[in-house]
Symmetry: C2
Subunit: 188 residues, 2 copies
């Protein structure tokens, strides 16, 4: 039995991403992840339901923070500005571990099932943002358009950030992308 | 053996959607679809690889038409205008059978796996559009932002169209949604 150590969850996640990168996601077992982390499989299952949840375990929390941040945007903020500020909060939560995000993205890119899970997560964010905007009194189709456009900008910014140099902050790449979207629409 | 009849593919698709709506997608077998269409399972498999392909068999063709339409947009068209014109061509191809689309959408909405497949299709369109824009000389992140924004508008317009009255044309709903996106950005 491994003795109690701080941040078992973080060590398990780190070990899992290392192994997914080395051997492939499908080929990695929970027993191997636990061993690499110096912990037991039992401890793994106290933190994660399965090996997929290592990659998506934070999604629910991020979704909650996204909605909370949208609700906290000033009442007079236009729809897309409110969406942008909410996504910037999420970007701030994600964006302090470039190496982790880069590894995670590489694992996802190599597996169709994980890609579909990632797309479902993003579609969920879009739905949550549209719901939140309607709660703020924004009408359709503006609510859905702003949510879709915002998540689309996030996807582009995240891809640029994760492929870019580690020193950049995701929040800043996201802000720039929102600025560029304006140009894209204006040019039409 | 059923004798040869015109448009076996269309009859099979129609029968499949009826059965998916009546019994649920998971509970419907290929044998039942063929029987409802007055055809054999063997004929079914000449037209579709499996029962999922009844719902997504047209996706590849639509993707090809999307890319072709983008390539045909005037060279001087701004990125989002080119994307909009390509998506309008696809909307024209989809939009002449509201009832079929409505049934198909209800089946997909009831099944997580089908939803993920639909999201993957849309993500594929976004990638194809961004690739096509880069071939036209559009730089990043403009290419990806225009592709993401365009597909986002399509998703919103399609949902509005499919839930709306059957007399509306998808192309028109899509054009209006592109117009509204401009307002969404301007208000930011």
């Amino acid at each position: 039995m491994a003795r109690w150590q701080p941040d078992a969850r973080g060590r398990l996640a780190h070990a899992a991403l290392e192994l997914y990168a080395e051997r492939g996601y499908e080929q990695t077992t929970v027993a191997e992840i636990a061993q690499r982390a110096g912990l037991t499989a039992r401890t793994f299952f106290r933190h994660f339901a399965d090996k997929r949840e290592v990659l998506f375990g934070g999604s629910e929390l991020l979704g909650e923070r996204l909605v909370a941040a949208l609700d906290e945007a000033p009442a007079e903020a236009p729809a897309l500005a409110a969406v942008a500020s909410a996504l910037e909060v999420v970007a701030g939560l994600i964006g302090d571990d470039h190496d982790h995000s880069r590894r995670r993205q590489a694992v996802i890119a190599a597996n169709t099932e994980l890609q579909e899970r990632e797309l479902a997560k993003l579609a969920g964010w879009s739905r949550m943002l549209a719901d939140g905007l309607r709660r703020r009194g924004v009408e359709e189709p503006v609510a859905s358009l702003a949510a879709q456009a915002g998540v689309g900008v996030f996807v582009v910014a995240f891809a640029r950030w994760v492929e870019g140099p580690p020193r950049q902050a995701l929040v800043q790449v996201l802000e720039e992308a929102f600025g560029e979207l304006r140009g894209v629409i204006a040019a039409r």
